[in-house]
Symmetry: C2
Subunit: 507 residues, 2 copies
């Protein structure tokens, strides 16, 4: 009885932490979609205060007492029971935060503010030197952070574990080696083909039509607008306050139609994951990243990305999809219709064209952008690459992999926001998402023979139901590789992803 | 030095409290403008948790230590200096919250949830008996709350002091007696006149045109959209996160144009007050209601309402305004123009027509709705009016003052949301706002002879500048009557309000 009360007490503590972190998520969403310019100054204070309060709640003696009691209470339960996992994850997070002193957190937060400003200036002037000292400091504090958390083989391990528990510098090296070897011949084959026409993607597409098609698209895929919203922003994103209040946001480029379509499809994939979590997990550890201190139902960055990439690329960026839905797209743009076929549209949105910018990359070259960033992060963290040499290393990698000469730093080393915000170690999760998404799709198509017919008929609820049962509903209860082993019989495996790309781009 | 450090320490504590309460304000704003239906369930938890955390921060030993030091630090300063007022107000709030046990707060919060649901059902069925037991409990807990806070003459004093410090049951009785005596002959005179035509207010006005005119209106009055937003909601409101992030929201009734115009003007008045607060007061006690636990720069409910009513009624509901701006309004509704003059429009939006519903009342009958509610609240609080007798008392008051027979409870005692949310004692502040607004305008017109010419020319910045200097910038530093004494030479005085109404409606 005493033990059971402790579990309830712990759940109440975590519910309060989740409430606070939910508020920070709302503040973040608001700042990226609704907030007038004037609000920026104090919004940072508000988010910092709430994050600190969440951490304080987690490290309070009352939490420790409840946690110790709860640990005894769950001893008899199955290792992977929801209750036991909640307690384990809470313990893991408490120990994590205990190891990181408040002073380091403050130092990193303070650096983030000035580093982002410097990055914005550096990028606009395309001058790495404006940003380099801030990046050097970011690497230094990341290294200090990694040392606090602890690592045995490589300091990068500690950073990666925050975003993708289970991965290390070594495991990523193996994965990326296999991927690169598999990708290069597919890319060669694709590049040897003539380019399809794509002029019609760059016409004038009024925002209203893009938005209407986007809303229709997201609902088609199963996104529930009674429990979610679709808004406009500069950099598309998804954030979840609970399974019943999920927000996705996309951008509309008036002269390039695919940006909003595939951006919306991508964020819808994230949104579906969050909307599909077991309602019983609301306000618990299983819908809260207590290490990263934010609200999320997905079990890792990579697992989350697997769902967004699956819907974006396997479903929406498919011939089948456009054979079905191209007429509807045309209806939204009556001035643009007539001279383009569904097949031409499909070929245009799957054309392969190596470029400098990661977020604009096609499916075949995208992972090269990630692999080189992971290599660089790793080398920055262990000191083998001095920050001053970074542009040179960057440009060499782009030349080697994509046969392109980077024209300036804005189109090279300064293009991503991540490092300026202190994120080191998150890039690999994008490629992990690609790999995991394909692995799940391969299994589903094999185990559920009716799936292909449903997709061909435009019935996406069959796929959603499978993913809900196998992945979404579990929230953060199972680790990414546990999910994969349960559903596909093996851990992360790049073979299905390479097979998918080969069949789509090299046959 | 030690004392000074305490002041800094106190300001840091209060800044954190303000951050937390800012977050609750964002959560509230979001829930009333953006949140999908699914979000409602957990949003209540989030707001409750943050409010509890704000109170805990205020009552923490660290705050007490800093407060004691700060009290010594400000001893030598002028009684009305900003620093001393911050410290005094913080002490007042701390003592307030100390007197109210957490159990009572929880009980009131729990009641609010069920009482609101019961009120919604009762109103939809127009059946007071569904709500009456919840109201009885609300009165009981309000009485308990008043007893905790403390009162000497009447338990209503404690409730009123939360919204309008300085007012009591007795002071309101005097004010309302004088008002009623002055209003009745004006109302009689107005009712003896023939009604102007108003059919054209009820035509079809597409939301887009209403929104465009509303945006233009709010900017015309000086609302800064770089530091604010205008959104759509069910019940118009204003909320401020800081002076640099103010949100107003209005509603659009497609078949009744004045609702959005005057609603927007009203909320703009609230918004201007908040946008005009001294930037130095951001994240301090002087922009936080530490008793009510929410963020606000206005010094009392009544003072706030004075600004909204001033802009709504003295400026926008004026002949001058429509002589200037009616052509612009017509441009937004090309299908409706042609057969109406500016004068006819002005007469229609100032027609006097007693009705059952407070929020739809004209300027002359509005205060009767308030006075009867205050009488009833007073009698509920001292027990002289049993809840069961409330509908009868209500209907009798409407018959006596407005000569109308209430057809059912939905059009009578069940029309307002206030009591179902535990708000008892806030109604009088609406009439205080009317009185204070007129008192300020009378003084401004007298002291600043160029003001009338500016208003007639549509230059509203002259008025805004005066109000900013005299009222807005001070935030919560001065009490309402202090502001009035500084600027008009006397405390709250209904004479200018009655003179304004007489000249507008009875000459």
């Amino acid at each position: 009885m005493t033990q059971h009360a402790s579990l309830v007490a712990l759940q109440e503590r975590i519910a309060a932490v989740n409430d606070v972190l939910n508020a920070t998520s709302v503040l973040t969403w608001d700042s990226r979609t609704m907030m007038p310019a004037g609000g920026a100054e104090t919004r940072g204070h508000q988010i910092a205060t709430l994050t600190r309060i969440a951490r304080d709640l987690l490290l309070a003696p009352e939490t420790e007492r409840a946690l110790e009691g709860a640990e005894r209470a769950v001893e008899g339960l199955a290792e992977d029971s929801a209750e036991r996992r909640m307690v384990q994850q809470t313990r893991h997070a408490v120990e994590h935060h205990k190891r990181v002193p408040a002073s380091l957190i403050q130092e990193r937060a303070a650096l983030r503010t000035v580093a982002q400003a410097a990055w914005i200036e550096a990028r606009s002037k395309s001058e790495f030197s404006i940003f380099s000292s801030y990046l050097a400091k970011t690497v230094e504090l990341s290294r200090a952070y990694a040392d606090c958390i602890g690592w045995s083989e490589h300091p990068y391990d500690a950073m990666v574990s925050i975003y993708e528990p289970g991965e290390t510098a070594a495991s990523l090296k193996d994965l990326f080696k296999e991927l690169r070897a598999g990708l290069l011949p597919i890319l060669d084959a694709a590049r040897s083909r003539p380019q399809p026409r794509s002029d019609f993607l760059f016409r004038d597409f009024p925002e209203e039509g893009q938005r209407a098609f986007g809303l229709s698209l997201t609902e088609k895929l199963g996104y529930d607008l009674q429990r979610g919203r679709l808004d406009t922003t500069v950099h598309p994103f998804e954030v979840s306050f609970t399974r019943n209040d999920v927000r996705i946001a996309t951008r509309y480029n008036r002269n390039y139609l695919p940006a909003s379509i595939f951006g919306t499809a991508h964020e819808t994939g994230h949104g579906l994951y969050e909307q599909g979590v077991d309602p019983a997990y609301t306000r618990t550890t299983l819908t809260t990243d207590l290490v990263g201190l934010y609200t999320v139902g997905g079990t890792s960055f990579g697992a989350h990305e697997s769902q967004s990439r699956l819907w974006e690329n396997h479903i929406v960026r498919s011939r089948t999809f456009w054979q079905l839905h191209f007429p509807e797209l045309q209806k939204h743009f009556p001035d643009q219709r007539g001279d383009v076929s569904a097949e031409e549209f499909y070929r245009a949105v799957t054309r392969v064209e190596p470029g400098f910018i990661r977020v604009e990359a096609d499916e075949l070259t995208y992972d090269f952008h990630i692999i080189m960033r992971a290599d660089i992060e790793c080398a920055l963290m262990d000191g083998s690459l001095p920050v001053a040499d970074l542009p040179e290393a960057w440009n060499a990698a782009i030349r080697r992999d994509l046969d392109l000469v980077v024209p300036n730093d804005a189109h090279g080393v300064l293009q991503d926001v991540h490092w300026s915000t202190g994120y080191i170690g998150s890039f690999p999760t994008y490629t992990i998402g690609n790999v995991m998404g394909a692995q799940m799709m391969e299994t589903l198509r094999r185990q559920k023979p009716s799936l292909d017919a449903a997709i061909t008929a435009g019935e996406y609820s069959t796929l959603a139901q499978e993913l809900r049962t196998r992945i979404w509903q579990h929230g953060r209860r199972f680790r990414r590789d546990e999910l994969l082993e349960r559903e596909t019989g093996r851990r992360l495996d790049p073979a299905p992803y390479l097979a998918y790309l080969r069949s789509k781009y090299a046959t």
